[in-house]
Structures are given as structure tokens and as C-alpha cells.
Amino acid sequence: MTDHIVAQAQKILPNIPLSVVSQGAEALVFQTGTHPYCSEESLIHLSNASTFIIKYRPPKPYRHPKIDKQITKSRTIAEAKFMSKLSKLSIPSPDLISIDSINGVIWMGYKGKPLANGEISSLKNWLWWLEKQDDSASLCVSDVVEKVFLNIGALIAKLHLNEMIHGDLTSSNILLEENHDGVFEAVLIDFGLSSYSGLPEDKAVDLYVLERAVLSTHSVHSEIYNEWLLKGYNDMHLSKEFKSKQGSKKLVETIKRLEDVRLRGRKRSMLG
């Protein structure tokens, strides 16, 4: 039943071959071999020169057209801006290629690599795949997994230290990419709900959302996963790069707030 959405996308992007990669909550993600403005020869130096990602936010029929237009436009622009800012800060994320905010289309570089079972290499799929291989603790909480979580924690810290808020951190929105040494590196994606804020409250909610997503999606080992995430987050704040920039002060504020947010989630009155 997604066929008519694909047809809509094809209408906006005539003559561009599209194949569906996934259907997220608000967008359809396509893969294509075509670059919108560069010739093939000029792309040779790129690592993924033959594949690009097109993210298309179709109009949502359930939303009032006025709300829908406004949301599609603002989220597409916000996402593109966020991506360009991330690449300036050299925080791993897809490269922005082009944007059409009215139609809700973003063209970006390809990241990640399919897993052994053919699925996208998101953190979620990878952890699920590991669980399927071997339910015992050894594989799911190995050093490799620990490194990945520490890396993700550090990445989020870097974001927050630059006063950037992701807004929708889940294990589906973190891609894993194997680098030349065979080490998995995390890549952040999906910035439709992103914002800019230095407030401990916003950073704490950002962390809380991820913590809860891990808890509900990867419940068996969630405790240790979240511990690693926070450790990575801590370490980045106290690192040489950020220590001089009030890293430890910001860390204390955010963590204190995180404890408040957790309490709010659990203790809020629940009538009904």
C-alpha cells in the first residue's frame, strides 16, 4: 500500500531510478545511483560514489493540510541545516547533497553497509542480529558492543557540547559503519526533530529518550548498554578537547537534570 507514495516520489523526481530502502515513521527512504548535479567522472574520489540516499517526506493525509505543509517544510529544512552543521564539526553523519523543502526531499550520501542478513546496519538491527546468533551474554555484551556504545555516548556528548539536540535518538537512528580497521563507527541519522539548545533540560530529555528506547527495544541487556552510553557521554565531557570549555560543569548539570526527568517519567500521576 506504499505504492502510491512511491509514485508520488517518482513524480517529484522524474527519470530518477528509485528503490525503497525503508519506510520510517515520517519518511520514505530510497536508494539511487544518480547524483543530482555532478557528473560521474567528478565523483570518482568519493567512497560511495555509486549510491545515494533520497529521503522523501510525503504529505500525511491524516494531518490538516496547514499543519502538514508547515511541518514538512520546517523539518526538511531543519534536517538539512543540522546535517551541514554536523559535517562542519566532523561528527559522522550523511553528507548533504541537495534539498527541496517544499516537496520534502533531501538527497544525501550513502552510509553504512548491509548486515549479514541483508538488513540495514542500524544499531537496532545489529543488536537484534547478535541476539539471534547467540542469546547468551557473551556475544551481546562483548568488548565490540561495549566499544560501540562508548562511541555512541561520546558522539552524543559532542553534539550536546555544541548545543545541538538530536530530538529522536533511538537505536534505529544510529547507523554503524565499519572502518578500514574493522572497527564499527556510529553515524547519526534522521534529524527531523532536531533543535539547538544549551539547556540541561533539553539535553537530558534527549538522553532520556534514548535510554528508554534502549530499555524497551533491547530489554535483556539494557542496563549495561545504558551504563556504557553514559560512560561514553561522561568521558567526552571530561576529555582534553572539552575540559577547558566547561565540559565538567555542563556534565554535572545535565546528569542532575536527567535524574529529574527520569523521576518525572516514573512518578507522574497516572489516572484514568
Binding site: 500525511k60 493525509p61 530530538g167 530489554s219 507522574r268 500521576s269 489516572l271
Partner: protein
């Protein structure tokens, strides 16, 4: 489902009967449910023998206070239990267990109903089963609609949660960070002094049908969570401006004055868009294509319509919703979920029947499922 549900069957009896008592908010409900031996399925479904309810209604502009609500429940509980048994044509000695809402909810009303449950349990010498209110909604919704493993949107006066099942727990993927959706609607109804009969949300829905202009409101989705207090404050402010007559709000495009109907329309459109969005996000995240809407706000037809439109655009998507008999708080869902618990050997000793105002959905061990 391969859990053996008949280990605790009474010898020589081919069915179970359970009485359910619900009183966590302003409704008191009593129901009798019947399960036959064996797994529940489309051919062996639970049978609703009776489902009686009474609602404590307050005048326009007022909400229900715990003390008054508890008094209402105390006044009605005996009559309603008698009624439910009469309709079901069963007597106390036919029952297998007494199920009651252990939480979450308002303290005083919960207390007044659990006292009735304890009394019956001792009078008829039956085991007590404490039920989590949210689990009651979910299990009843699954039973009535036949949805196997849906993403559940639970929306009511006190709860706003997106829930999915995994490893014997109903896990909360998204929820409100401040007030509940029903609370937001009720409070706005109080601002507008809309009658509380049959319930404020229904009257807002009827008024919203006449609304024409969409007033821009904050749209506050945070991942799979959402926040509603800011929207309420914003629209309350607009309503005050409208009533005071000083600088009344006008529509940006046409310049026409904004009416109470427009405000109801805008509030519904904005809040429900957010709900549908977080539900869709949870569906994408857990890779499910079924949605089940439960809870009082779930009886809203506009919300159901929007959810339907969302689901149509997802591969193989389907939506399941129930009507007000099962959406709005009722005793039968407590009886049903309690009986499932009872059939897996989970009962509460008398000392362990204290109610709690805070009882998370994911605290319950779902012993009757193992998928």
C-alpha cells in the same frame, strides 16, 4: 500462545467465571466474564455476561475531586454489583475469582472499590486478583478486536502511552512528558464551560465538527514522547482573549473571528496528529503494522479516522479500535485481564491487595503470553 491456561481449573467445570470491579477514576464498573477451558481464540472467545457502569458527573466547569468520586463509588458499588450478577444470571458461589483494579488511578476511589472486593472475597471465599488498569485495557482490546500483536495507543484521562509487547511485558515506547491527553481535553472543556455529560471529550468532538479555522498551536513531539501542557496553556490563553472581548483572536487568512468551535477543532487536529505521529514512529521502530487504540479518548471517531489514514499508507497495516463499552473504563476488562492472571496462578493474598496510585504498565509480568 502456548502457555497452559488450565492448570488451575476446578475439576469437573468446563468454564471459568470472574467478577471484575473497576473504580480508578470517575466511573465505577462491574462486569462478569466467562472463559471456556482451552486457549482463547476466534472460535473460543471470552463471553461478556454483563458490563454495568455508572459515571460520576460534575457540573460544567468543574472536574471530579477524589473525595466526592470515592463517595459516589461507595454509594453505588453494592447496587452495581447486584445488577451485574443479575444481568449475568450468576450468583457469588458460581464465580472463580474476584478481580479488582489495583492501580494506577486516584487513591480514594481505588480504595473504596477494593474494600468491596475484599468483602466479597471473604463472604464467598474466593481468591482476589489485582489487575493493572492499563493491562486491562490492552487485554480487553486484543480480545474484542482479535489483534494479535499490535502497537497499542493507550489514551485516556490519565494516561497517554504507546506500548508494544516484548518478552512477557507490555513495554512503554512513548508517553506524555507532562499531562495526559484526556486531562488536556477535560481542562480545556472546563475553560470553555462545556457540559460534562456524557463526557467532556465527546462534547469537544461534536463542537470540533463545526470548526472551520485552524489556529496555529505548538506541535511538541519529542521522538516517541510528546508534551501537551504548553499547548493547553496556549489555547487557554486564546480562549480567555476570546471571552474577554479585548483583542479577540482572528483567523490569519480570512480575518474572521475565531470561535470556540474553531478552538476545539484546532486542539483536536493538533493533539491527534501528534498521537498518530508517535504511534507511527513506534510502529516503524518495532516493525509492526497493527495498531490497537484503547482508553476513553480512543472512542473519538476523528482520532480513529486519522489513525486509519496513517495505517493505509503502511504496508499491510490494520487498525483495531473498540467502541465506548470497552474503550471507556469498565469492569469487564478488569474481569478479563484478572481471569487471565488467575488462570496462570497469579492471585493476591489479602495482605497484598493494597492499591497504588502509580503502577507502571511494564511492571506487570505477562505470564499468559510467551510469544
Amino acid at each position: 500462545m502456548t502457555v497452559d491456561l488450565d492448570q488451575y481449573a476446578k475439576p469437573g467445570k468446563s468454564y471459568y467465571l470472574a467478577l471484575g470491579l473497576e473504580g480508578s477514576a470517575n466511573k465505577i464498573g462491574v462486569g462478569v466474564i466467562k472463559h471456556n477451558l482451552g486457549q482463547l481464540s476466534s472460535t473460543n472467545s471470552a463471553e461478556v455476561l454483563s458490563n454495568v457502569r455508572d459515571t460520576y458527573v460534575t457540573p460544567p466547569g468543574e472536574g471530579f475531586l477524589p473525595r466526592d468520586t470515592a463517595r459516589h463509588h461507595r454509594n453505588w458499588v453494592v447496587r452495581i454489583i447486584k445488577d451485574a450478577l443479575k444481568v449475568a444470571k450468576v450468583s457469588g458461589s458460581d464465580l472463580d475469582c474476584i478481580c479488582f483494579t489495583q492501580g494506577p488511578g486516584m487513591g480514594a476511589p481505588l480504595q473504596s472499590v477494593v474494600i468491596a472486593a475484599r468483602t466479597l472475597s471473604q463472604l464467598w471465599d474466593l481468591p482476589l486478583v489485582g489487575v493493572n488498569h492499563c493491562i486491562g485495557h490492552i487485554e480487553m482490546g486484543r480480545e474484542i478486536t482479535g489483534a494479535q500483536n499490535p502497537v497499542v495507543l493507550y489514551v485516556s484521562g490519565g494516561n497517554t502511552q504507546v506500548i508494544a509487547y516484548s518478552r512477557q511485558r507490555y513495554r512503554i515506547f512513548g508517553e506524555t512528558l507532562d499531562i495526559a491527553i484526556g486531562n488536556c481535553l477535560d481542562r480545556f472543556a472546563r475553560t470553555l464551560k462545556i457540559p460534562n455529560i456524557p463526557f467532556p471529550g465527546y462534547n469537544i468532538e461534536q463542537m470540533a465538527k463545526k470548526g472551520k479555522h485552524l489556529v496555529p498551536l505548538p506541535y511538541t513531539v519529542k521522538g516517541m514522547d510528546l508534551s501537551m501542557s504548553g499547548i493547553l496553556a496556549h489555547i487557554d490563553q486564546l480562549a480567555k482573549q476570546m471571552f474577554s472581548g479585548k483583542k479577540p483572536p482572528v483567523d490569519e487568512e480570512t480575518g474572521e473571528p475565531i470561535t470556540a468551535e474553531d478552538l476545539c477543532f484546532s486542539l483536536q487536529e493538533t493533539l491527534y496528529s501528534m498521537l498518530v505521529e508517535i504511534t507511527e514512529r513506534a510502529m516503524a521502530h518495532v516493525q509492526s503494522n497493527q495498531v490497537l487504540i484503547v482508553g476513553g479518548v480512543g472512542s473519538n471517531l476523528r482520532l480513529q479516522e486519522m489513525m486509519q489514514l496513517m495505517v493505509q499508507d503502511r504496508k499491510g497495516g490494520s487498525i483495531h479500535a473498540t467502541d465506548e463499552r470497552f474503550c471507556i473504563d469498565n469492569g469487564i476488562m478488569i474481569a478479563h485481564a484478572g481471569l487471565l492472571s488467575y488462570r496462570t496462578g497469579q492471585t493476591n493474598e489479602l495482605w497484598n491487595t493494597v492499591c497504588t496510585q502509580r503502577y507502571r504498565t511494564d511492571e506487570v509480568f505477562v505470564k499468559w503470553r510467551d510469544d
